[in-house]
């Protein structure tokens, strides 16, 4: 829905709509085929012949796996639908970053091909690795949504890390200390507690920013270690005396049920789907979302138009905190099923990449979370298989940020090749295209 729009504006709307529908259907069919192939590949440990299919179907939880993979495919279709030709830019950026990463690896590794092979095919080589990928993508989706909300308002909150820790703590406390309840009540209660913790912790920098104009980047960055220390302080108090490590007792109540054997994929997927839809609804279909978008576009105009910008800033940061808190809930009740130190493992910064690549569109977030967590899961495999530090993944991450946000990159390269300036810059084209895409 971008560059082509400029050329297809003359075709009647009904034709355009039916054509879009046709593309969409084609995409969904492709996604379904892809998900079946993917499931068979993972469940049977590689597709060799027709027998692989029956072997895969015999695998435990084949249907649930297939279901998850269908969602993976649909996420990709949704992403293309949301970003149109922007998809190409994402692919090019990630490809270029991987290429630069490969060149770096040539310098430091003895066997770069083996390393890259491990990185790029590793996550699909076993069911448990596939599971790590999907479960990590679910967490990343939630963080990505959290970042999307603040980025939409042109705010730079980096506080997700602390909100995740406190959200996880609140949910785990409910799971540990609230007397046993039916799962249908206990889980929502824990989720609510985690969301509330995230809301409050997100509210602090929001208030500081809105009413005192305190730089939210610094305040959120400082609140992260404080939250981590509060987290470890509480954990020190509640951990069993016998425990050698700082680890809570395993949670037994309010756990999200696991749906695929040998993995930690849980019914948390329903929370994730709900979170994506709710975030989209908030941004696109509520007054708050309108205010957030207006502030993001032009805060002076928003104030002039009668928007209570202070209230909107506080709410944007708090609601973003809710999503981060939900991430913490998911990590505590779904992944770790206990509280450990360093629970989030730097998830917040990776959420930034996800939100960036998704262009702050909530519906495009899941696909980018899947893409990025694929690399995250491939990293450790690469480290064990080829002795290349998994930190290479974060190097690639930083290159992605630099390449993707360097709007002038293409102009710069063009200017190098041909001295005269191009009549319409890449930036302007993007603006025009965005304007066209914003039309309903």
């Amino acid at each position: 829905m971008t560059a082509t729009d400029l050329t297809t504006l003359n075709t009647p709307p009904s034709t355009r709509r039916s054509r879009a529908l046709l593309w969409m259907l084609l995409g969904i069919v492709l996604a379904l085929i892809f998900s079946v192939v993917l499931t068979v590949h993972v469940a049977a440990g590689g597709i060799t012949d027709a027998a692989s299919i029956s072997k895969a179907i015999a695998a435990p939880a084949f249907t649930n796996m297939l279901g998850m993979n269908v969602l993976v495919g649909l996420a990709a279709v949704l992403f293309v639908n949301q970003t149109g030709w922007g998809t190409l830019r994402v692919i090019l950026t990630v490809g270029a970053a991987l290429l630069i990463g490969f060149i770096l690896m040539l310098l430091i590794s003895h066997d770069p091909l083996k390393a890259y092979n491990a990185l790029l095919t590793g996550p699909l080589s076993r069911t448990n690795r596939w599971g790590s990928w999907v479960e990590d993508a679910m967490a990343l989706t939630l963080v990505g949504l959290s970042i999307t909300l603040v980025f939409r308002a042109q705010l730079f909150s980096l506080g997700a890390e602390g909100q995740i820790a406190l959200g996880a703590m609140a949910a785990a406390l409910v799971a540990l200390y609230v007397p046993p309840l039916p799962l249908g009540i206990h889980i929502p209660l824990a989720v609510l507690a985690g969301c509330a913790a995230g809301f409050l912790w997100g509210m602090i920098p929001g208030i500081l920013r809105a009413y005192l104009n305190a730089n939210e980047l610094v305040s959120t960055l400082m609140l992260n270690p404080i939250a981590a220390l509060i987290y470890s302080f509480i954990l020190d108090r509640i951990k069993p005396k016998s425990a050698g490590f700082t680890v809570s007792e395993p949670l037994t109540a309010a756990l999200l049920p696991r749906i695929i054997d040998g993995t930690r994929v849980t019914t948390g997927i329903f929370f994730v789907i709900a979170a994506v839809i709710i975030t989209w609804l908030i941004i696109q279909r509520t007054p708050l979302g309108y205010e957030i978008r207006t502030i993001g576009a032009n805060i002076k105009f928003a104030r002039y138009g009668g928007i209570d910008t202070k209230r909107t800033i506080v709410l944007a940061m708090s609601v973003s905190g809710v999503m981060a808190g939900l991430t913490g809930v998911y990590l505590a009740l779904g992944i770790h099923q206990k509280l450990i130190l360093g629970l989030s493992g730097g998830l917040a910064f990776e959420g930034i990449v996800v939100a960036l690549l998704a262009r702050n569109k909530p519906l495009a977030v899941p696909a980018m979370a899947l893409l990025y967590s694929y690399l995250r899961v491939g990293g450790p495999i690469m480290q064990t298989d080829a002795s290349v530090s998994l930190e290479i993944i974060r190097v690639i991450q930083s290159i992605i940020i630099l390449l993707f946000t360097a709007d002038g990159l293409i102009v710069f390269i063009q200017a190098r090749r041909t001295k005269p300036k191009p009549p319409i810059s890449e930036q302007d084209a993007a603006h025009i295209a965005e304007g066209a895409a914003a039309q309903p």
């Binding site: 404080i226 470890s232 530090s389 360097a406 709007d407």
Partner: protein, 345 residues
């Protein structure tokens, strides 16, 4: 009461003041880097990553050089290499922002991720170090400036020697940098250009200042300063590189210039304040014997202090702005604007 006395006498002891200067050094240097980039209107969020790159380069190159040359020379070899790398990383950010129109804040975040990840990855590859973050290389230290003559001063000599007598050369460089940055900002043409560019880039451009060049320079200088801070961390404060050893100092440094009113000496005072809080962090348990302090409480102090400082600074600035707006309103009321002379209906 005795507890309070304990704390107070502990804080004002010579040993504490000496430690405070040591702790302040790796905050002061990047703070000056933040200051100079901020004054040029291109705040350098990537200080943390630059510090890590320099800390790693200095310690590693120094350690390898020590196998070939005398350790005292090897330290300076590491020093030089670290500065070069710091400037290169800062210039990468500058190129990204100034040449490629990339977002400065996202670029800074990317630099921080890059600095953290690349140092660990290269260290891993060099030493094959699997566990922990330390590289296990022999530590190389920047020299210590020994001033025995301070002891000869009557009455305060011993105390003075404890405070200043055996500080690392990087500590002296850090306080010297305050004066150098002051001189650069207020006594040199380039400083005037730099401030002009920060105040109003369009106006600066209109009088013929090359805005982009000035900003390149500002970011490069902030890279040098952050690099010096990193060198102190791995070759002075500690004996070698460990992963993510900056522990947020590059972020704390972003607040110091604002707190210090945007001047080098104010920034120094702010950095000293942070240094005092950080020094308190390690000493609080020994200052309060018998009191059961959770280990997390002192660790929170520097971060909480940063937030409080940020709040106070922002509150004052907001108040100053509203006061100015009010004065402006009053002035307008006193001298009523000339009535429109056009035909009235």
């Amino acid at each position: 009461m005795t507890l309070l006395q304990n704390v107070l006498s502990g804080i004002f002891s010579a040993a504490f003041l000496g430690a405070m200067l040591r702790v302040t050094t790796p905050i002061l240097l990047p703070s000056l880097g933040a200051l100079i980039s901020d004054r040029a209107g291109v705040i350098n969020i990537g200080l943390e990553g630059i510090m890590l790159s320099a800390a790693f380069t200095g310690a590693t190159v120094g350690a390898y050089a020590a196998t070939a040359v005398d350790p005292s020379i090897a330290a300076w070899v590491g020093f030089g290499a670290a500065i070069v790398v710091a400037v290169l990383v800062a210039l990468l950010l500058a190129f990204f922002h100034l040449q490629l129109n990339g977002d400065l804040i996202l670029g800074g975040i990317a630099i921080n991720i890059l600095g953290s990840a690349a140092t660990i990855a290269i260290g891993y590859q060099l030493t094959g170090g699997r566990g922990g973050g330390s590289l296990g290389l022999a530590g190389v230290q920047m020299p210590i400036v020994d001033l025995p003559f301070l002891k000869a001063i009557p009455a305060i000599g011993d105390g003075l020697y404890t405070i200043l007598g055996s500080q690392n050369i990087m500590t002296w460089i850090s306080f010297l940098s305050v004066a150098v940055i002051w001189f650069l900002l207020y006594r040199m043409p380039i400083g005037k250009h730099l401030r002009a560019v920060g105040e109003n880039p369009d106006a600066a451009a209109s009088v013929g200042i090359d805005v982009r060049r000035v900003r390149y320079l500002a970011l490069a200088i902030s890279g040098v300063l952050a690099g010096l801070g990193g060198i102190h961390l791995s070759m002075g404060y500690l004996n070698g590189f460990t992963r993510d050893m900056t522990a947020g100092r590059g972020f704390i440094a972003l607040v110091a210039p604002a707190l210090g009113g945007g001047t080098p000496f104010g920034t120094m005072i702010a950095a000293l304040l942070f240094g005092a809080f950080a020094g308190l962090e390690t000493r609080l348990p020994s200052l309060l014997p018998g009191v059961d302090i959770p280990s997390q409480l002192p660790q929170i102090i520097p971060y909480a202090a940063t937030i409080i400082a940020l709040v106070i600074y922002s509150y004052q600035r907001t108040r100053a702005l509203t006061a100015r707006a009010r004065r402006f309103e009053q002035q307008r009321k006193q001298e009523p604007a000339p009535t429109p002379s056009g035909p009235s209906d």
